[in-house]
């Protein structure tokens, strides 16, 4: 029982603690605490409380707050206590405020002055107390107020004060690196402090600084190595020994720093080999702390430039860890194995049994760590076993956070290494079924795309079989209660697209199921939207096949409900469905060609097909288009000036703006970037595209009314679009021809294609064919050769060309930069030559997109700016508004198209007449052969049936 000096508590406090300790229930405890709060509230505001009493009240408040009750009424008293002269009271005050307040609290302003004063105190204990408070309570704004004092304290005679001053400075650096950036050299100086404790403390900030910027600290490698050597040789005083180890905590910090400094730097690493080797030899592996140092050595060895001898020592230690009975050491062993495996993959084989044991261990932490290791060592030969295991484990746990993580890992591995389509779809189904709502929506879109495109096994037959099996499995799965929304979206889409394709199921079977889905998940609008569109497709296919369509009664009632829905999206879909059913077979076949989800929809983002129209209008005296960036300035001016001055001023401004870098356009880019990586709008994307298409024809005729008329007009006018397209696309195609050419040449070497995602894994030898198809589908068969470059140009230029059409080849530049870009996931050295993640390709796009966007707008502005005359800015503003908006929306839409093939499909089929090619969408035999070869090359034998766990995992 502690009863020394200052830490005394009164009987009352003891009683409080005792009664809380004896409370039988949470309610009883709450009652006692509330009672106590009342008492304290009353007492604490009484006048003339003795300091000693006050101190106790504050401690009681701290205690109450720790139990989760609000003690804010006492904060001000705690602040007052910091002003007290008595050390005891002051320290209590500081303790209380550091626990009560955050750095942005209003009361801090009352403490800063006291802290300033206390930092100058003669009594080092007061200084220490103030430094403690500084670490917790000073924010960016108040740093300058105390910084000079803290800097002075770095040279304080007491080592305890110096240490704390370093920590305070480190804290400042964490909170606002810029405010102390000129002072970081002090950390270097303090590294040479006479006191090893201060030197040890300096390692904390240095570690952080080095982690942020390795190169500026390479000169310290020698110093760190010599410090570590001295520590390991027991040059420090005995006081630093811990369990017979010389200053192990300092050794650990130093090893961490060396790991950072030596990473990828052969020269620096060579300086470290001797000392690390020494530590490996000297370290006492019987104590916990000794093993901590050994583990840190392994981390260091696996991070610095590899040295065979050290790797050997590390492997020895790992096997000792793994063989140990202690779970802690096994955990560290698995973790260390995961690090070392990147450098020497063969090491895993020695430990296969131990790894399998850890996988079966009752310790959840160890199990997770082991899964992490498996994740790191997955390759095409063992992916089936590993993913299977992971899914089983995923099903068994309840922790949503970890479930999400493991689900996304399963998906990632499956996407990267899937040996066959069948397996991939089954795996995805399992993941969705058990963790559906936790999976990123993009995964669902990938799955839909895969089913639509197939990966081209041997023939189209295989794809058809794949789809049939998918449909079958989904019809079966629909029987299960409570499916995740994302999964239902996939199911609806697949059923709509392929439900009746092979003739196994009748339209009424499928539509019945779809209606059931819409009904059972009636509060999920996205699912309902998917189901409605699926219904529309089924009916459209029926009509196109000259079959009689009988709408099921439940389907009719669903439609009635949706026609009156509050969601405009659902309503629109319902109306579209109604309209489609009323059409004759030819029209329907054009709107909704069957199995055309993979057809590309060309979007002419420059609206170049309108050039003739614009020219004509301008000749008749219409206003030319002025881009938004130029317009805003002009509008401001025109507001001030009268009509007479107007023409001159606007003319001058517009001229000047050509040279400007168009800030408005650039500022929009981040927004689209975000859209590309993050937002995958599911129900919305219909709108932008719809409005884009429908607005187009009406813009030039009457910009003002275009916005109002959007939806009504578009339905008819959009048909006219294709006739405009050829003229313009040829006009600006020539310059891009070369780009197209190189990309084709590059594409022939398959390495680049292998690095792409599944979808882009389509061999690029195919490119020209794909393009022909694309061109044909877009421009009709008549003038193929002429238009090909045009499409190529589109592809090379358009920001999100990968988005729009995954078959389009990436230029060599792009592939190169993709390689150079830091890979997001840990590099898999086990299978170096094999594909990288899907995400890399995605991530790169924004840059491409940025180029494309600028490019596009430049073209646009050039086109629009060419005509010289400019008149009343008001109408132009309106026009430009819509046009700019279109650019923007269009980008977003294209992006969403990438991850959401169904969206690309649905609006396309409803609105785009160009997409008429229907039957031959499956990959052709050449394509498939290539794919097959790839699979074999990867060493997958799809028929092998999980023969030997160990072999699969580790062979």
């Amino acid at each position: 029982m502690g009863s020394q000096g200052g830490f005394y508590q009164s009987k009352e406090f003891l009683d409080l603690v005792k009664s809380i300790g004896e409370a039988r229930s949470k309610a009883e405890e709450d009652r006692i605490v509330l009672n106590e709060i009342e008492t304290l509230k009353r007492r604490i505001s009484e006048p003339d409380i003795p300091k000693r009493k006050m101190k106790e009240y504050i401690i009681r408040l701290v205690y109450i707050e720790m139990l989760g009750h609000d003690a804010s009424f006492g904060y001000i008293h705690a602040v007052k206590m910091t002003h007290d002269d008595s050390l005891l009271v002051k320290r209590t005050g500081y303790l209380a405020v550091t626990l009560f307040l955050n750095e942005d609290h209003d009361l801090i302003i009352l403490i800063v002055n006291t802290i300033q004063k206390d930092l100058k105190s003669d009594n080092y204990l007061v200084v220490c107390a103030a430094l403690n408070a500084v670490c917790k309570l000073i924010n960016e704004e108040t740093i300058p107020a105390v910084l000079p004092q803290v800097m002075e304290l770095l040279a304080h005679p007491k080592e305890a004060v110096r240490k704390k001053a370093i920590m305070a400075l480190h804290r400042f650096y964490q909170k606002s690196p810029s405010s102390v950036s000129h002072l970081v050299s002090n950390f270097r100086k303090r590294l040479c402090d006479n006191d090893p404790g201060v030197m040890g403390a300096t390692l904390c900030p240095l570690f952080e600084l080095i982690a942020r910027d390795v190169n500026s600290y390479k000169d310290l490698v020698i110093s760190f190595v010599s410090i570590l050597k001295q520590v390991a040789e027991r040059r420090l005083s005995k006081a630093y020994d811990y369990h017979q180890m010389p200053a192990p905590f300092i050794q650990i910090k130093l090893l961490k720093i060396l790991a950072l400094l030596g990473s990828g730097d052969k020269q620096a690493s060579e300086n470290m080999y001797t000392v690390v080797g020494d530590i490996f030899r000297k370290c006492d592996s019987s104590s916990n702390i000794g093993n901590a140092v050994l583990y840190e050595c392994i981390c260091c060895v696996s991070s610095i430039y590899p040295n065979p001898k050290l790797l050997e020592s590390a492997a020895d230690v790992i096997s000792r860890f793994l063989k140990s009975d202690s779970h802690n050491l096994k955990y560290m062993g698995i973790d260390a194995l995961g690090r070392l495996i990147k450098i020497s993959p063969e090491i895993a084989e020695q430990h296969q049994l131990a790894v399998i044991d850890c996988l079966e261990d009752p310790d959840d932490t160890l199990k997770r760590k082991t899964f992490e290791l498996l994740y790191k060592m997955t390759k095409s030969t063992n992916v089936e076993v590993i993913v299977d295991r992971m899914i089983d484990y995923m099903i068994s746990i309840n922790d949503n956070h970890y479930k999400t993580e493991i689900a996304s890992r399963c998906v990632e591995l499956a996407e990267q290494f899937a040996p066959s389509n069948q397996w991939f779809i089954q795996t995805m189904n399992r993941v969705f079924e058990h963790a559906g709502d936790l999976v990123n929506i993009k995964v669902a879109h990938n799955l839909m795309r895969l089913i639509a495109e197939g990966f081209g096994e041997d023939d189209d037959n295989a794809d058809t079989k794949l789809r049939s099996s998918a449909v079958e499995s989904y019809l079966r799965i629909l029987g299960e209660p409570k499916l995740p929304s994302v999964f239902l979206q996939v199911i609806c889409w697949v059923l709509g697209e392929y439900g009746t394709a092979d003739g196994m199921f009748s339209a009424s079977d499928i539509t019945g199921k779809l209606c059931d889905v819409a009904e059972a998940y009636s509060n999920d609008e996205t699912v309902k939207a998917y189901a409605t569109t699926a219904l529309m497709k089924i009916y459209a296919f029926e009509i196109a096949a000259w079959r009689k369509v009988d709408m099921l009664p439940e389907c009719q009632s669903l439609m009635e409900e949706l026609l009156a829905s509050h969601s405009t999206d659902l309503q629109q879909r319902a109306y579209e469905l109604q309209a489609v059913i009323g059409l004759d077979a030819h029209a329907v076949a054009c709107i909704m060609p069957s199995d055309a989800s993979c057809e590309d929809i060309e979007v002419d983002r420059d609206l170049s097909f309108l050039n003739d129209y614009i020219q004509e209008a301008i000749e008749k005296g219409a206003q030319p288009y002025i881009p938004e960036s130029e317009r805003s300035g002009m509008l401001n001016i025109s507001n001030f000036r009268n009509q007479d001055h107007h023409e001159a001023s606007s003319h001058g401004l517009r001229f000047e703006a050509y040279e400007l870098p168009k800030p408005a356009v650039q500022s929009r880019i981040p927004q689209t970037l975000i859209a590309s990586t993050e937002i995958v709008p599911v129900p919305e994307p219909m709108y932008p595209r719809e409005s884009y298409q429908t607005t187009m024809p009406s813009i030039p005729s009457d910009a003002g009314s275009a916005e109002l008329k959007l939806r009504l007009e578009g339905v008819q006018k959009k048909w006219g679009r294709s006739t405009y397209t050829p003229a313009t696309s040829t006009s600006n195609s020539t310059s891009q021809k070369t780009v197209n050419g190189t990309s084709q040449g590059d594409g022939a070497s398959t390495v680049s294609s292998m690095r792409e995602t599944y979808d882009s894994r389509k061999p690029q030898v195919e490119v020209s064919h794909e393009k022909q198809k694309l061109a044909a589908s877009l421009f009709g068969g008549s003038s193929k050769t002429e238009k090909r470059p045009a499409t190529g140009h589109k592809a090379a230029k358009a920001s999100s060309h990968v988005v729009e059409k995954s078959h389009v080849p990436k230029s060599s530049m792009e592939v190169a930069s993709e390689k150079a870009a830091p890979a997001q996931q840990p590099p898999d050295l086990l299978d170096l030559g094999e594909p990288t993640a899907t995400s890399t390709a995605l991530q790169l796009d924004p840059f491409k997109q940025l180029e494309g966007l600028l490019d596009a707008t430049e073209v646009a502005s050039a086109v629009n700016g060419a005509p010289a005359a400019s008149r009343s800015p008001d109408i132009m503003a309106l026009y430009a508004d819509t046009a700019a908006g279109i650019h923007n929306k269009n980008d977003a839409d294209l992006l969403s198209g990438l991850s959401n093939p169904s969206v690309t499909n649905m609006p396309g089929t409803t609105a785009m007449p160009q997409v008429t090619q229907s039957s031959s969408k499956g990959p052709n035999p050449k394509d498939s052969l290539e794919k097959d070869a790839l699979v074999r090359q990867m060493g997958v034998n799809p028929s092998s049936q999980n023969p030997n766990l160990f072999k699969d995992l580790l062979g």
Partner: protein, 167 residues
């Protein structure tokens, strides 16, 4: 960096909680509850480590140790070493507190609330471990108590009180 140090008893009552980045009281309570939820579901004879990302956000790990009726928990990020953290707990829990209280028990921590905080402040400052020599820690703490005692004449806790405390 260390994110938090918690001490709680086997019933889940917090005995000490120190978060090195400010968190509102409710959040602290929630975290303590969730940590306890995980701790008490751990079987015997397993590792002392828990991946705490679902509780404390990305890049956080948790090491705990069990002394008598108390759990000592440290939450930290990847810049620290798990095994070393276990030793910090050892250092705080066994060596230092044992020296202070001789046969440390749960109530010692409650009744000497401010003293425990003082000890902790000596070991960890701003989320970094500052001092690892328990003799040094003890010396600092004693110096503080002596000074404080000198400035205030305070009567000690009566013996009778300490007799029921050590139950």
């Amino acid at each position: 960096m260390i994110k938090a140090v918690m001490v709680m008893n086997t019933q889940g009552k917090p005995r000490l909680a120190k978060f090195f980045d400010y968190l509102p009281v409710e959040k602290q309570q929630e975290l303590i509850r969730r940590v306890f939820g995980v701790l008490c579901s751990r079987p015997e004879n397993v590792s002392n480590f828990i991946e705490a990302e679902s509780i404390f956000g990305p890049d956080s790990r948790l090491v705990y140790n069990h002394f008598a009726t108390l759990y000592f928990v440290v939450v930290f990020d990847s810049s620290e070493n798990e095994l070393a953290m276990l030793d910090y707990i050892q250092l705080l829990g066994q060596q230092t507190l044992e020296r202070c209280f001789k046969n440390v028990c749960e109530l010692d921590i409650v009744f000497n609330y401010s003293k425990i905080h003082t000890i902790l402040d000596e070991i960890i400052l701003g989320g970094q471990v500052l001092e690892t020599r328990s003799t040094e820690i003890m010396r600092a703490v004693e110096e503080i108590s002596k000074l404080e005692a000198a400035t205030n004449a305070i009567s000690f806790i009566p013996k009778s009180a300490s007799s029921w405390l050590s139950r």
